[in-house]
Symmetry: C2
Subunit: 204 residues, 2 copies
DNA sequence: GACCACTTTTGAACACGTTCAAGAAAGCGA
DNA sequence: TCGCTTTCTTGAACGTGTTCAAAAGTGGTC
């Protein structure tokens, strides 16, 4: 992690990592299957930091929009120091075959933990979504976060302020959508979306 | 392209490509800056095929939902033969610094052509979106297609039928949303979304 | 034809991720 | 302590993308 942070992922060689750790090159491969596998450590660390930061938000706020804003914001804050080389990380994660992909079985624990966080965010908030929407909302919010992460990776503005702006503007929209979800007209669309999510989850 | 299709991107070496082309290894690098640059040829070819297929759809149908369905479907059909190694392509495209990224300046021509296609799709259809939405719709539909592509990359179902199911189910939703866009309640949300898109486009 | 600048071509060399056969160390039952 | 198995460690070697200095070719001018 020290070398990755200092030199970036691409410029850090396995030989340098082995040397820094005081072991031989081959020995590094005894403990880590590949260079990619080292990144898992980065993910785990990031997720732990985010979970802690999100916890403070959930303790503090009870309004749905504030909770969502806080949790998404917390991720941006936690991830900021790593922005420069995060692109290289996520490049690997984008490979569907990579164990680092957020949709891979290997990532299931981290993914489930994250979805559980959003479940808590919803349940203990003042949000009153349409009944059909409620069970899907945590997963949809997780997907929203994946979208924010994707945007963030491409965001080259200073301190990723555009990502912050995105979060600040999209949270009220989501909040409004959740409120509107019980209105008759909107309801039909929501039902369709929920149906879509269901259809895609269970292999058709 | 022949070798990529036969062996996959990862297993095709630059040496093999050079040999197949009857030139030396170094000479391949005189004409293509890197192995990645060779992929551009794949993109261009794919886009041309899709443009042609989409053209036939736009000639045939006038209803907005049918046009959208046809255009998205056409992409899936055109891309299907390349699904297996497309993951490797898109992995490179996921790197924000890569010229292959759909958001990069180098991809601007292809991106603009694609957005123009969606503009035609909307304009010559029977859709009557909210005035504020109309100018943004082509870009939003292009984004939708990027989403479909992302889903498709991860789709390991036979013949990517899940991707087809996604398109079949999401098109009516989009159609309905466009219809609803002029309703007073929904209108507010649409305005917010359009505002968001504007805010993110011009550096804030 | 001789000279020159420029373009094209070449293959050796390099860096780095990864593999592997061989050896060293550690644990353990007798 | 001795032998055996298992775990750990090592560095040489390999494959591949990429670079580069040198050679070969091309075309134009006098």
């Amino acid at each position: 992690m020290r070398l990755f942070n200092r030199e970036g992922y691409g410029r850090t060689t396995m030989r340098a990592i082995a040397a820094e750790a005081g072991v031989s090159l081959g020995n590094a491969y005894y403990y880590f299957g590949s260079k990619e596998h080292l990144i898992q450590a980065f993910y785990d660390q990031l997720q732990a930091e985010h979970a802690a930061a999100a916890e403070r938000v959930l303790q503090r706020d009870s309004r749905f929009d504030q909770r969502l804003h806080g949790v998404l914001h917390a991720w941006l804050d936690v991830a900021e120091p790593h922005h420069e080389f995060a692109g290289e990380f996520f490049r690997n994660a984008a490979d569907p075959k990579s164990p680092l992909s957020p949709f891979s079985p290997e990532s299931a624990p981290a993914r489930d933990a994250s979805i559980a966080l959003f479940a808590r965010l919803v349940e203990e908030s003042d949000a009153k979504p349409l009944a059909a929407l409620r069970p899907e909302l945590p997963q949809l919010l997780w997907l929203l976060q994946m979208g924010v992460v994707l945007f963030w990776v491409y965001d080259d503005s200073p301190h990723q302020q555009r990502s912050h702006a995105l979060v600040a503007r999209i949270v009220p929209i989501v909040d409004r959508l959740v409120r509107l979800s019980r209105l008759p007209v909107v309801r039909g669309v929501i039902d369709d979306v929920v149906g879509l999510v269901h259809a895609l989850r269970s292999p058709s």
